[in-house]
């Protein structure tokens, strides 16, 4: 009887609720190559860390296409928009990321994120108040999704009321990031849908960006389109692909981080109790969450531009690589008792935000949002408990998280 390949087991929806036994098996072969022309799966912490800093590993979508990936290569660089910096190598990557950073963080906008703390708290309060007299909620639809969406909309300068509109384009784009190896025949349809969605989303944002070019406001779209630093300006197309990236990455991953966070805390009620008493604990809790249940489980978009030797295995030039972050995060070679959720561990480190030049651009935002969200939920929900465990999951194996999370509680504080 043929054994299901590890790749297939990772993408198999049946393993979505608990993929960690699969990752444990995967780590037994830290450099795994299952099929000719298939990717090399890397699953140990130190190897992943090293490859994230390796200048022979390209993120360029064009290299990936050349390596023969059909499921992944067609989403970003088509649809009329150039690839975002996530799918580019230096020097283009560096230039675009520097300009984008000029609109987001230090040194040019050192207080942009921190100054949103009050607003974030207000949004969270409003959403929790909105639970009203209900004694059961779906955390995803009623909190974990609307919160980061509202935040990223304000940050970018996208009208919040347009969410139903852009959501219809975001969903197929996010789905296309899922390397579902069993998709087969509908693949072309999927790609076509994604391509169209990306174009639509770009056109929608183009209107807003043009408005900001004429009348700048205090938001990131304005900064992106009007940036004239030492790196020059972004082209209109670059502004659009950057904006598409920030809009999607700015909430899709945070939804899962918050939801995984509440799920994990409800499974470890002693930390929920401690967080209620000490909101400061949210810092360590979020870091440990990023290790224990990372919202991006794997990076399936890298290609070798030269032969690379990892643990005695030569990965030939042109090969695709999957860096399985979630497996590395529970690597016993790096972490003591890795399967235990332990915000008290002295040396919380993780691959949850990646590492190297592509390390998560929005990390400071995601951290702050999740810290506020979890400490407020812990403080305000009276005796919360899970309605079902495990909850139903989203299809996506890369951006993994529950589709719904039913929480019952006694009341609001």
């Amino acid at each position: 009887m043929p054994h299901a390949s590890m790749m297939r087991q990772i993408t198999d929806f049946a393993n979505r609720a608990n993929p960690y036994p699969v990752y444990e098996e995967l780590r037994r072969t830290p450099v795994l190559h299952e099929e000719e022309d298939g990717p090399y799966l890397i699953s140990s912490y130190y190897d992943i860390k090293a490859l994230l800093h390796d200048p022979r590993i390209s993120s360029d979508a064009a290299n990936l296409a050349a390596a023969g990936d059909d499921a992944l290569d067609q989403t970003e660089e088509t649809g009329g928009l150039p690839p975002s910096f996530l799918r580019l190598d230096p020097p283009e990557h560096d230039r675009l990321r520097r300009i984008a950073n000029g609109a987001f963080g230090p040194p040019h906008r050192p207080r942009r994120i921190e100054s949103m703390r009050g607003q974030m708290r207000d949004i969270v309060t409003e959403l929790i108040d909105g639970f009203g007299d209900a004694r059961q909620i779906d955390l995803v639809d009623q909190f974990a999704y609307p919160f980061p969406v509202t935040v990223i909309c304000r940050l970018l300068g996208v009208p919040r009321e347009d969410e139903p509109k852009f959501r219809t384009w975001v969903d197929p784009l996010v789905a296309s990031l899922d390397p579902d190896t069993g998709r087969g025949a509908d693949d072309t349809d999927h790609r076509k849908t994604a391509r169209e969605a990306r174009m639509q989303l770009g056109m929608y944002l183009a209107e807003l960006v043009e408005e900001r070019a004429r009348e700048p406001r205090d938001d990131m779209l304005s900064d992106l389109v009007n940036s004239r630093g030492p790196d020059g300006a972004m082209t209109m197309m670059e502004v659009l692909s950057t904006s598409v990236l920030l809009l999607i990455a700015g909430h899709e991953t945070t939804v899962n981080l918050i939801t995984n966070g509440m799920l994990t805390l409800l499974r470890h009620p002693e930390y929920l109790r401690r967080l209620r008493e000490d909101p400061g604990l949210s810092v360590n809790i979020v870091e440990e969450l990023l290790r224990y249940e990372p919202p991006v489980q794997l990076v399936p978009q890298r290609t070798c531009i030269g032969d690379i030797e990892v643990r005695g295995v030569t990965i030939p030039k042109g090969s695709r690589i999957w860096l399985v972050l979630a497996a590395g995060n529970r690597d016993p070679e790096r972490f003591e008792d890795p399967e235990r959720f332990d915000p008290d561990r002295g040396d919380i480190q993780h691959l949850g935000f990646g590492s190297g030049i592509h390390s998560c651009f929005g990390a400071p935002l995601a951290r702050l949002e999740t810290q506020i969200a979890l400490s407020e939920l812990a403080r305000r929900l009276e005796s919360p408990r899970l309605v079902e465990d495990p909850p139903p999951y989203r299809q996506n194996a890369v951006l993994r998280g529950p589709r719904h999370l039913g929480i019952a509680f006694e009341g609001l504080r």
């Binding site: 800093h53 390796d54 200048p55 022979r56 230096p90 030269g306």
Partner: protein, 463 residues
């Protein structure tokens, strides 16, 4: 017997640490963290609790941090006797006693030497005493220099374009002060990074408005009748008027107090084994004297077991932790100090980082980015191996190159790398200055194989 001694030492022994800066503090904390319950004494010649020095040439000069508030955070309660503001003046290893400047003597069962380095003063004492002639090493130096820069001098003159001198020049330009930098070699940073990278640093300085003079030395500092410095005379016979002169000629190791102690100590530091135990001048390792930080020179496996002297923040921390651990454990549990040399600097808005031992390198290859854009990663090769790497605004790749050094990866770098430009396809001469010429603080020096070597400058043989 030996085992009993360690148990006794851990319980009620006396450990004395001479040097109350970064290495001394981190060692003290490690001793306590690892269970040392005996008596702990820290001796420091400065009257301050341990403080952090890197900000002194950066944010402090810009007024963004106070020179008196860069205290190092205490990571552990150390319950120590502090003898601050009094220098150690002598060591009798047989009687196990440290002599202090105030005539006092402190007895120890085990000693850690962490006396570090001091700024090399201007060699002519009369000129050095002129008002406006400054050094930069201590927080008092930084407070004095900050006050003078803030007063808006007509021109600042920096002698020596090593890292510290270049950082001072950068701070001056950020404050919009006219600044002249004089350098004996052909470019800034050549001692640490060689002439190819030095040329990039030179462009960086001149483009930012520094009046950079290379291939010159300062022959005299001229004072006015009131004893204030007024002008600087150069070997090319030019004269530059300036009312602040910063002497940035590297450092001297604080080992004079060890004269006559019988230890392998000299101008290049105190020799110790990889376990941080000091050698005596005969090359025999001592049992009860340990060394850590800038003052130590210890053999490194990755660099042919030559003794390596490192003036690096990270080295001081790592070596202090290793020394402290080894001071209170049994022989079999001792660890070697195998720290990969690494340092960072920032000047004119550029982040510079390096790993390995660049001055060991004969050739250089720009593997990513471009020198002209001043964003790049470059590696140094010696005898067909990568021995060092440097990045300008490209820090995130450095980990990779560190690993390449650790595994002894071949040089030149044949494999393709992202963003390799035509200029990076061939190795070039790294252009380190003639090793017989003194340079101001390369910050990392290979210093031969002899634990008692007193020779001042040593570099690997070149062809």
């Amino acid at each position: 017997m030996a085992a009993d001694y360690v148990e006794w030492l851990r319980r009620e022994g006396r450990i004395v640490i001479v040097g109350a800066s970064l290495a001394g503090l981190r060692a003290a904390e490690t001793l306590r963290a690892e269970g040392f319950a005996g008596e702990l004494t820290l001796i420091g010649d400065e009257p301050y609790e341990p403080y952090d020095r890197p900000p002194l040439s950066k944010s402090v000069l810009l007024g963004m941090a106070s020179p008196h508030h860069t205290e190092l955070p205490h990571r552990w309660e150390i319950d120590a006797k502090w003898r601050l503001g009094v220098a150690a003046t002598g060591l009798d290893p047989t009687a196990k006693r440290v002599r202090l400047a105030d005539g006092d003597e402190v007895e120890y069962d085990r000693l850690l030497i962490a006396t570090g380095v001091r700024a090399r003063p201007w060699p002519k004492p009369e000129e050095a005493r002129l008002d406006g002639v400054c050094l930069l090493r201590t927080c008092e130096d930084a407070a004095d220099l900050y006050r003078r820069l803030k007063a808006g001098p007509r021109r600042v003159f920096v002698i020596g374009a090593g890292f510290a001198g270049s950082e001072v020049a950068s701070a001056c330009r950020e404050m919009n002060l006219p600044v002249t930098v004089a350098e004996r070699a052909g470019a800034p940073l050549v001692g640490a990074l060689g002439g190819v990278i030095g040329a990039v640093a030179a462009d960086l300085q001149t483009e930012n408005g520094v009046d950079l003079r290379t291939h010159v030395t300062v022959t005299a500092l001229e004072g006015d009748p009131a004893g204030r410095v007024r002008a600087v005379h150069l070997s090319d016979e030019s004269v530059v008027e300036a009312d602040v002169v910063v002497v940035s000629l590297g450092s001297l190791r604080n080992t004079e107090w060890l004269q006559g102690s019988g230890l392998g100590a000299g101008p290049r530091g105190v020799a110790c084994d990889a376990g941080c135990r000091a050698f005596d001048f005969r090359g025999i390792v001592t049992d009860d004297v340990f060394v850590a930080g800038d003052v130590a020179r210890s053999p490194h496996a990755l660099f042919g077991y030559q003794f390596l002297s490192l003036e690096h923040w990270g080295n001081a921390v790592a070596q202090a932790e290793t020394a402290a651990h080894n001071m209170i454990c049994h022989g079999a549990e001792r660890r070697p100090h195998l720290w990969m040399p690494a340092f960072w600097s920032s000047m004119f808005g550029v982040n510079i980082k390096s790993v390995g031992v660049p001055p060991m390198g004969e050739q250089l290859m720009v593997t990513q980015g471009s020198l002209a854009e001043r964003r790049f990663a470059a590696v140094y090769g010696y005898q067909d191996r990568i021995v060092a790497a440097v990045t300008f605004d490209n820090t995130r790749w450095l980990e990779f190159y560190q690993r390449q050094i650790e595994i002894g990866a071949p040089f030149p770098v044949e494999y393709p790398t992202m963003d390799r430009r035509p200029e990076g396809r061939q190795p070039v001469d790294a252009r380190f200055p003639d090793p017989s010429l003194p340079t101001h603080g390369p910050m990392v020096t290979l210093s031969g194989y002899s634990p008692a070597d007193q020779q001042l400058v040593f570099h690997p043989a070149r062809h």
